[in-house]
């Protein structure tokens, strides 16, 4: 009975600690959704292969949100005609490369300053790597049909040629007059309130499940098992990557969950947990389907896992 009581208390601790951060993330995500203009400045975004994802990743500081709030924003960016590199840079890096997540990581690990540098840098590198991996794939094989259609409506054809867009629209010429962009439509405050509240409630349920899994693992998994896995450099990374995928908790709060495992695993495994979850997890697999086609999601998952594994190994090589 005592372990059950302890697990229940840890569950409550994790949940009550994480909830304010989740609320903050959703609030900013809602605000960003409200303020995001439709097309205007999006045409000014750079299209160079390297600069585009860099700018997208850095936009996380202006539009900070966990990966759940991040997906609709990234979708809106891409639908509005932003360069794919920028959209992907934002999609993959912004869940970590933003002030809220950095602050929560600091709150959870004030005694491990290396993590405050390694986590955002790692997320940045993952975003760059994924953008380059997805770059050769044509847009029509990457994006969902609905998103592709919205993007075609917003993409300035006069400025972006057919080959550059790779959208599969045969016959569209670079001198064709641009299609009229849809009129900017800003959400009404009441709609914003309703959407954000529902988003918060949806994510809260996932947080409840994640906290329950984390509390159970922490209480009932024998420490000797964790130690056996955690002390092996590669195995500990793979185990924590798997845990990140299964637990599926938002990046704004996952650092607090990682606290439960931090002492039992290698530094590389800890970093892998904090890097992979915001890009690949079970919850995101559903959310990503509003942006990417299944094949593109699979490519993203495999590539992200490989990059994270390499980073984890490198960190273990440095710190162990």
């Amino acid at each position: 009975m005592a372990p059950l009581s302890t697990a229940w208390a840890i569950f409550q601790g994790l949940l009550l600690e994480a909830l304010p951060f989740l609320l903050l993330g959703v609030a900013i995500s809602g605000l960003a959704r409200w303020l995001l203009p439709q097309t205007g400045w999006i045409r000014l975004l750079p299209r160079q292969p390297f600069l585009a994802p860099v700018v997208g990743a850095l936009m996380g500081f202006a539009l900070p949100a966990c990966e759940c709030g991040n997906v609709p924003i990234a979708r809106r960016l891409i639908a509005s005609g932003a360069p794919l590199g920028t959209g992907f840079g934002f999609l993959f890096a912004a869940p970590v490369l933003n002030p809220i997540v950095i602050a929560s990581t600091w709150a959870a690990f004030p005694d491990q300053p290396w993590l405050l540098i390694a986590r955002p840098c790692g997320a940045f590198l993952i975003a760059l790597a994924l953008t380059f991996v997805l770059r050769p794939v044509p847009e029509h094989a990457l994006l969902t049909d609905a998103l592709l259609e919205e993007r075609r409506l917003c993409q300035p054809l006069a400025q972006v040629g057919l080959l550059e867009r790779r959208s599969g629209m045969l016959g569209a010429s670079a001198i064709e007059a641009p299609l009229p962009a849809p009129a900017p439509a800003r959400l009404a405050p009441a709609d914003l309130l309703a959407h954000s509240s529902r988003e918060f409630l949806d994510l809260l349920s996932l947080l409840v499940v994640g906290c329950a899994i984390a509390a159970s693992v922490q209480t009932f998994l024998p420490r000797s098992w964790l130690l056996a896995v955690g002390e092996a450099p590669t195995l500990s990374i793979l185990a924590l990557m798997l845990m990140a995928v299964v637990i599926s908790v938002c990046s704004s709060v996952d650092a607090f969950l990682a606290l439960g495992f931090a002492a039992q695993v290698t530094p590389g495994a800890l970093l892998a947990f904090l890097l992979l979850g915001p890009v690949v997890d079970l919850k995101l697999a559903g959310l990503f389907t509003v942006v990417l086609k299944p094949r593109a999601i699979a490519i993203t998952a495999v590539a992200a896992a490989m990059v994270v594994l390499l980073m984890g190994q490198w960190v273990n090589g440095l710190l162990l």
Binding site: A2, P3, S5, T6, W8, A9, I10, Q12, G13, L14, L15, L16, E17, L19, P20, L23, L24, A107, A108, P110, D111, A188, P189, A190, D191, L193, A194, H195, S197, R198, F200, L201, D202, L204, S205, L206, V208, V209, A214, A215, Q218, T219, R223, F256, L257, L259, G260, A262, A263, Q264
Partner: protein, 239 residues
């Protein structure tokens, strides 16, 4: 049947605001009732209270027209379809409200590492009898020679921690964030003959710090002169 379906539709339409209010109340009440002291580091308590107040405000705003048109999301749920994960969320909130935390600190400490997080600056000029158990542990770890404190008066409180294969210690839990990262800080006690401390029992001990040979090593040990059972303190977790 029609009335029942209508009632379900109304309930489904109200559900988001009810859930927001439920979670808001949970956070607010957890702060107000002092439950957080058992779960989180004190620095985070205001954040939880603020989040609770915001959720309650959101729940109220949901129903205030404020000159806006009625949110369409209210109509979306009017079909009576309630997402299963919202039901799960409501059940979790109700369970948290109904069953307060009652962790076994000893059980928790048994699975935790013993490395202490960095704490606040030690107050060495405090008289020894005014040092808390945590301050004693940090001091003894920072100064490896236990003989320096031989004979110092001690007045500490903590819970009885029992680890497998070791004699019971008097301990405190240190947290950086929440109970999930709790780390035990324990002191050896030379329990007088006939005293069998109950695990998790909170005790206050007046005594002296001495040095004893344990397994061939000189270790600081508290020799109690008076042992008083006390209730769990209002703030059992330390930074």
């Amino acid at each position: 049947m029609g009335q029942w379906a209508a009632a379900v539709r109304v309930l489904a339409a109200m559900l988001p605001s009810l859930l927001l209010a439920l979670w808001g109340w949970l956070l607010f009440w957890s702060s107000w009732s002092g439950r957080l002291s058992l779960l989180l580091r004190e620095a985070f308590h205001p954040l939880v209270s603020l989040a609770g107040a915001l959720l309650l405000l959101l729940a109220v705003l949901w129903w205030l027209p404020l000159g806006w048109r009625r949110p369409p999301a209210l109509r979306l749920r009017a079909s009576g379809a309630v997402p299963w994960h919202w039901v799960l969320s409501a059940g979790a909130a109700a369970a948290v409200l109904a069953f307060p935390p009652a962790p076994s600190f000893s059980d928790l400490a048994a699975t935790r590492p013993t490395a202490l997080p960095d704490g606040p600056v030690l107050i060495f000029h405090l008289p020894p009898e005014q040092r808390s158990l945590t301050e004693w542990v940090r001091l003894l770890r920072s100064q490896p020679d236990p003989a320096l404190h031989d004979g110092a008066p001690v007045r500490i409180s903590g819970f009885v921690l029992e680890r497998a294969g070791q004699p019971p210690q008097l301990a405190r839990l240190l947290v950086r964030c929440c109970l999930a990262d709790a780390t035990p800080a324990g002191l050896d006690v030379a329990w007088p003959g006939g005293v069998a401390p109950a695990v998790n029992q909170w005790l206050e001990i007046d005594g002296t710090m001495t040095v004893k040979s344990v397994a061939g090593r000189q270790r600081p040990v508290v020799v109690p002169e008076r042992i008083t059972p006390i209730p769990r303190p209002e703030r059992p977790l330390e930074p």
